[in-house]
Every structure is written in structure tokens, then in C-alpha cells.
């Protein structure tokens, strides 16, 4: 059975990677990593500061979300 199998499906001879895959990997990391723009961070900080200064506004904020 082994010989028959190896005749029909010979072991893979060329196992060497033809090119470096790192550039493709790096591109995938850059594309899929979620980046939050600095203006979004500023907006989040402003909202948190507003809620900290005026705690009662939190309910109004939640109502509008």
C-alpha cells in the first residue's frame, strides 16, 4: 500500500520557499491593526473630561448615543 501511495502521490520534493514572505506579513499587520486617529483620541479625552467635570451630563450624553 505504501509503495502504491508513493507512486500516486510522491513525496513533495521542492519544499523550499521561493521568496521572503515578510513583506506580505508586514503589509497584513499594517492593514489589519486598528489605528485610532489622534483627533478621535482628543474627542474621547474631551468627552471624558466633560463627564468628569459635569457628572450629571453623563445621562444626557447616554440619552443621545
Amino acid at each position: 500500500m505504501n509503495d502504491l501511495l508513493k507512486t500516486a502521490l510522491p513525496p513533495v520534493k521542492d519544499l523550499e520557499l521561493k521568496h521572503d514572505l515578510w513583506p506580505a506579513m508586514r503589509q497584513r499587520i499594517d492593514e489589519r491593526t486598528i489605528r485610532v486617529p489622534i483627533w478621535d483620541w482628543a474627542l474621547i479625552a474631551a468627552v471624558l473630561a466633560w463627564v468628569a467635570i459635569f457628572p450629571h451630563s453623563a445621562l444626557a450624553l447616554l440619552y443621545h448615543l
Binding site: N2, L5, K6, L9, E16, K18, L21, W22, M25, R32
Partner: protein
């Protein structure tokens, strides 16, 4: 893990991961895609990496799971002629039609059995390495290979091939 450390890890191990996947899927472009997917999962789960257990077995296990998933979704049938495509070969020789039938029957094996049989019988990898990659015991690998051979024998007999 920062990107520079990950790049070093990637460059050190990409060839070995590719070779392992290639042995299972036997298709260079698929093996490249699955190598990238393996490392992408490594990157996402880097916090769970245990250096004491070694990177290679961990990556190989992820790679094997992805390769088996690929086998599960690829077409299993290879069209082969019902009539012999070549005249009967002399004793001991195997016709092209027989080879196609064997390939087709092999691809119809359940993916987990197919992966174990490919690695053990065709690629002749160590049973310990296969067991580690499949996340089962060496006995479990032997069992899968035995079941694969039994199914192959039955199906080959049905298409007129007696191994």
C-alpha cells in the same frame, strides 16, 4: 511582542512552517497563504506564547489546523476516466488511470485521516512530530493512519484496484 521581534521570529521560522504546510497541502501558493495565516494568528496570540514550550511546536500546530481546514474545504473529487486511459501495463507497472484513481480516493479521506496518512506514509515524518502537530498522542496518530489505510483499501477495491 513588538514588530521587530516578530520579524526576527518570522524570518527564523517561515521556511520550516512553509515546508510543514506544503507536505500536507502539496500546493505552493496555498502553502504560502497558510504560512502567512499561521504567523498572523501567532502575532494576534503572541501574549499567550509560552517560550518554555518552544515556538516551533506551537506554530506547527496552528499550521496543521489551518492545513486540515483547507483540506476540508477543497474539492475532493478528481475527475478520472471510467475506462482505462492507457493500455493495460505489463505486470507490476501502474497505469496513469490507476494513479488518478488512487489520488482521487486519497483526497476523499476525512481531512484529519488524510493529513496523518500524508505525513506518516508519504512524507515519512516522525510520529512524535505528527502527534505534536495534531495535538494527539503517538497512538492516536497510528490509529488515524490505520483507519486511513483501511478506508483506502476498501475504496480502492470498489474501483477495481487491489493493493
Amino acid at each position: 511582542m513588538d514588530v521587530e521581534a516578530f520579524e526576527a521570529l518570522f524570518r527564523d521560522h517561515q521556511s520550516e512552517v512553509y515546508r510543514w504546510i506544503m507536505r500536507i497541502v502539496r500546493d505552493p501558493s496555498v502553502a504560502e497563504d497558510l504560512t502567512l495565516e499561521t504567523f498572523w494568528r501567532v502575532w494576534k496570540a503572541a501574549d499567550r506564547f509560552d517560550p518554555q514550550r518552544g515556538f516551533e511546536p506551537w506554530a506547527r500546530r496552528i499550521a496543521t489546523n489551518l492545513a486540515i481546514t483547507h483540506l476540508r474545504h477543497r474539492p475532493r473529487e478528481i475527475a478520472y476516466a471510467t475506462e482505462p486511459v492507457a493500455p493495460p501495463a505489463p505486470d507490476g507497472a501502474v497505469t496513469a488511470d490507476t494513479l488518478l484513481k488512487i489520488q482521487s480516493v486519497f483526497r476523499q479521506l476525512p481531512p484529519k485521516l488524510q493529513a496523518a496518512a500524508t505525513l506518516a506514509l508519504i512524507e515519512e515524518q516522525k510520529y512524535e512530530d505528527i502527534a505534536s502537530a495534531l495535538g494527539i498522542s503517538v497512538g492516536g496518530v497510528k490509529s488515524r493512519v490505520f483507519r486511513a489505510v483501511r478506508i483506502l483499501r476498501k475504496k480502492l477495491e470498489k474501483v477495481g484496484i487491489t493493493p
